[in-house]
């Protein structure tokens, strides 16, 4: 099943089983069904609960936090993650604070889903990866899923069980990919272990966790690229890496999921699609240095987008964003030069 279909299905299931669930967003009703067709055909069956809103992210988030406080479970679509900035005041100064400001008398179980990421030639304002602006705000959970995470289970939990605002980052490139869930600890060429809890962290290995040269932390839409680079590296050079893929990015960030793998490898690599400075990778590296300093035998390697706006032209976009080839090169030479 394609991931776009999987999300559509779980939204249908949520609408069917939970009368408190409302979908809201710009042009999400039929026939358009949202810019990425995720809400396709839902408005026909749930006319009053799948709602087109004006082009005003600020009011959309504001209205939703009011609904959430009154016991509903709004699910918002922000058409492009780049426009999260327009709803930022409602999110940062209101939705995330209400629970604390009103002494725990209210919850704001609002769920915002929004696509981020480039590789489609959409230019500087429709291709960004802006998780870093949302991370580190107390009171908000930020999730990002890969094709090997169960969209179904995580959606159900986040929409129906959470009490705080949850933002789910969906990478555009993943929509046209298939869900590849691990079966009996295997998926494709990889051996996979999954941490417990509603937001599992996956650890992938090509040699059943025997030994590896690096622990690569990545998330969301970067996983397919890192997997390809890792497989190629194994085939060409017999350099094995373990890939650690959290689904809950923060906050607070607890990186205990990286410990087991770091014990085996002693080297931390962080791959992310956002710009490198002051982001998720910076935080993971900093925490690893303070918490697992003795496990680290080599310098941390960071692979991320250049600190630059994303160009429209595909060939220039490719230069800015990390891709399969440069992940392969950076991993290979980072490991070979320093071991």
């Amino acid at each position: 099943m394609y991931i776009s279909e999987a999300i559509n299905k779980v939204l249908f299931e949520l609408l069917t089983t939970n009368p408190e669930v409302y979908l809201m967003g710009e042009d999400i009703e039929s026939p358009y069904g949202g810019a990425f067709k995720i809400t396709k055909n839902l408005s026909e069956q749930f006319k009053s609960r799948v709602i087109n809103t004006p082009i005003s992210e600020s009011s959309l988030v504001g209205v939703a936090s009011g609904m959430a406080m009154r016991g509903l479970r709004p699910v918002l679509e922000i058409m492009f993650g780049d426009f999260m900035t327009l709803g930022m005041d409602q999110l940062v100064n209101h939705a995330s604070k209400f629970h604390y400001m009103y002494n725990g008398q209210v919850d704001v179980p609002m769920f915002i889903r929004t696509p981020m990421g480039g590789r489609r030639g959409y230019g500087p304002t429709h291709s960004q990866t802006l998780e870093k602006l949302l991370l580190g705000i107390p009171g908000i959970k930020v999730l990002a899923l890969s094709q090997r995470h169960s969209f179904h289970d995580i959606y159900i939990h986040a929409v129906t069980k959470e009490k705080c605002p949850v933002i789910l980052i969906e990478n555009k490139a993943l929509y046209s990919m298939r869900q590849e869930l691990p079966e009996n600890g295997r998926s494709g060429d990889f051996f996979i272990t999954e941490s417990a809890g509603p937001y599992p962290c996956l650890t992938l290995s090509l040699n059943n966790f025997v030994s590896a040269d690096a622990t690569v932390v990545t998330y969301g839409g970067m996983l397919p690229l890192v997997e390809k680079a890792a497989t190629q590296l194994c085939l060409d050079e017999e350099i094995f890496v373990e890939i650690v893929v959290p689904s809950l990015l923060g906050v607070p960030l607890d990186i205990n999921w990286v410990e087991a793998s770091l014990r085996r490898t002693g080297r931390l690599v962080i791959v992310e699609e956002g710009t490198q400075s002051f982001g998720f990778g910076s935080e993971v590296a900093a925490l690893a240095c303070s918490k697992y300093f003795k496990l680290l035998k080599y310098p941390v390697i960071r692979i991320a987008a250049a600190d630059s706006p994303i160009p429209c032209a595909r060939h220039l976009e490719n230069l800015v964003l990390p891709n399969e080839a440069n992940i392969y090169q950076e991993l290979k030479w980072g490991i070979l030069n320093d071991s």
């Binding site: 394609y2 046209s176 060429d189 085939l235 060409d236 050079e237 017999e238």
Partner: protein, 533 residues
């Protein structure tokens, strides 16, 4: 005729598609334009149509991931799958990643060095170098046993092993005087037989030729050309072999089948000839062209009906720079399987295996294995046609057209020699009437007992057929059976005429003849005046 169906480019968004379902099962007959299968893109489904009619051979399972350019099935005139499926998967990289054994480059190299078949390794996940080494370790005991068995390829009678000064004298003799070598053939044979060698009837050691071996078993009718020197610990050579002049052959063990034909100036040995693995095995009916070189540092195995064309060279070792400085030193056996052809000046590197019925084209440098029925060419040699491209199962109609052309060109040749020959296309076959010799060549797809053959106006009847059910052949009849590749009946200069015409198109009959009873010497032929201006 076969036709592979490839995945087209369907849209620009997807790297790969899903094959949802097949509309036919393997072996079904498909008509041109039929929907073969349904492919799903990220946006829609898409039907693939048959571009021609034929039986379908499916390469890809339902629900598999496929990429643009992958071959998903083959349409063939033959119902049976003519090739092994394993190889076809490897043609499609994206399929290979799903279905085939995956191994790292180091693992593949190690497997080649240790002689491990990756296909036999029951791996979970990607096979690494360590996995291969562990597997080789577990296999080692078994391998050693096999090696011991394969070393001795023929039985030797202990009493016939020559173990005295005679051989040492021969070696000295070769150095300067060549006294023994210049003896007449019959004399040399007598001396050898006297020492215990097994030598059949009509064997000839031409002037200057000499064999220095502790065990000799030479079949009847074999001829050793002038100034040829053979050295080996033990040798077994089949019947009716023809070795050219100026051969230098040195190998611990020589095991050569019947009817080998070699041209002049062949070199066998060329380094490492007295090692335990210096073995040359050649099957029946092979051809080795002039100035070929076979290096026997390690075992070289050549199957039946293999052709090594002019100047082909086989190496089983490859070293020069010191291994202590990280350079490679290679010693690996080479195997060439039945019915393959190694082109002019091809160089074969150590460790290569050429599959049955394959072709390696002129001047190639062959450093990889060649699967059966494929065509390779280039430096280094690359695949030109995939495994199983040959043999092609042609229909009888197509074959009959070819036979008609062969008859036509045979008639032309005969006319050039001043004979009266005429080809007639008949309802049931083709007929070539060779009037002045009172002979007729007849092609019939099937010969029946009731046919009016072997009688009437002609003195000689030479018959060519795919299916021979004639029981008793009259004296004046020769039958060439194209299915069994056999000749029955009388064989003389008339039947050889057809036999030679067929041989020039690669059609050989058992026993294979390299020498023919020629009707006319070239000196007797008329001047080709029509070519003059």
């Amino acid at each position: 005729m076969t036709h592979d169906i490839l995945v087209p480019r369907i849209n620009s968004n997807d790297d790969s598609y899903i094959l949802v379902e097949w509309e036919f099962s393997a072996g079904d007959f498909v008509k041109e334009g039929d929907v073969l299968c349904v492919i799903e893109t990220s946006k829609s489904t898409f039907e693939i149509h048959a571009e021609e009619s034929g039986y379908i051979h499916i390469f890809v399972h339902e629900h598999s991931k496929i990429k643009e350019g992958d071959a998903i099935c083959r349409l063939s005139k033959e119902k049976e799958m003519p090739l092994n499926e394993k190889f076809d998967l490897s043609r499609n990289p994206s399929l290979a990643s799903d279905k085939q054994i995956k191994a790292t480059k180091k693992a593949i190299e190690t497997a080649r060095d240790l002689g491990v078949d990756l296909g036999k390794m029951m791996g979970d996940g990607i096979i690494s170098q360590k996995d291969v080494e562990a597997f080789a370790q577990s296999q080692n005991v078994e391998d050693k046993k096999q090696q011991e068995v394969s070393f001795v390829t023929f039985k030797m009678d202990r009493d016939r092993i020559i173990n005295d000064e005679f051989l040492k004298e021969l070696l000295k003799d070769l150095g300067d005087r060549r006294e023994f070598a210049s003896l007449p053939s019959q004399k040399k044979i007598e001396i050898y037989r006297d020492k215990g060698a097994l030598i059949g009837e009509d064997v000839k050691f031409e002037r200057g030729s000499c064999i220095i071996s502790q065990f000799m078993d030479i079949g009847a009718g074999t001829v050793f050309g002038e100034n040829s020197v053979f050295q080996s610990k033990a040798m077994k050579i089949g019947r009716m072999c023809r070795f050219g002049d100026q051969l230098r052959v040195a190998s611990t063990l020589l095991d050569i089948g019947d009817l080998l034909f070699t041209d002049n100036g062949i070199k066998i040995g060329e380094g490492g000839e007295w090692g335990p693995e210096s073995i040359l095995k050649i099957g029946d009916s092979c051809f080795i062209g002039e100035e070929c070189m076979i290096n026997t540092s390690r075992t070289v195995t050549i199957g039946n009906e293999v052709c090594l064309a002019y100047g082909a060279k086989i190496f089983t070792h490859n070293f020069w720079q010191p291994v202590l400085d990280g350079y490679a030193a290679l010693f690996n056996p080479v195997k060439i399987n039945d019915g393959s052809v190694i082109g002019v000046n091809v160089v074969i590197m150590p460790g290569v295996e050429v599959g049955a019925g394959s072709s390696v084209l002129t001047n190639s440098l062959l450093a990889t294995n060649v699967p059966s029925g494929s065509v390779y060419a280039g430096i280094p040699a690359m695949m030109i046609k995939p495994a199983g491209s040959y043999p092609i199962n042609l229909s009888y109609d197509e074959r009959e057209k070819m036979i008609y052309k062969i008859f036509e060109s045979l008639a032309e040749d005969l006319s050039f020699k001043g004979d009266d020959a005429q080809v007639l296309q008949e309802k049931e076959g083709v007929k070539l009437i060779w009037r002045n010799e009172n002979t007729v060549f007849v092609y019939r797809r099937r010969l029946k007992s009731g046919d009016d053959l072997g009688a009437g106006a002609f003195k000689r009847w030479v018959l060519l057929t795919f299916e021979n059910v004639l029981e008793d052949l009259k004296d004046a009849i020769t039958v060439f059976d194209l299915s069994k590749k056999e000749v029955n009946g009388k064989q003389d200069e008339y039947s050889d005429e057809l036999r030679e015409a067929l041989r020039k198109r690669g059609i050989r009959f058992k026993p294979i003849l390299w020498r023919y009873k020629r009707r006319a010497q070239w000196i007797d032929l008329p001047m080709p005046l029509k070519f003059e201006k």
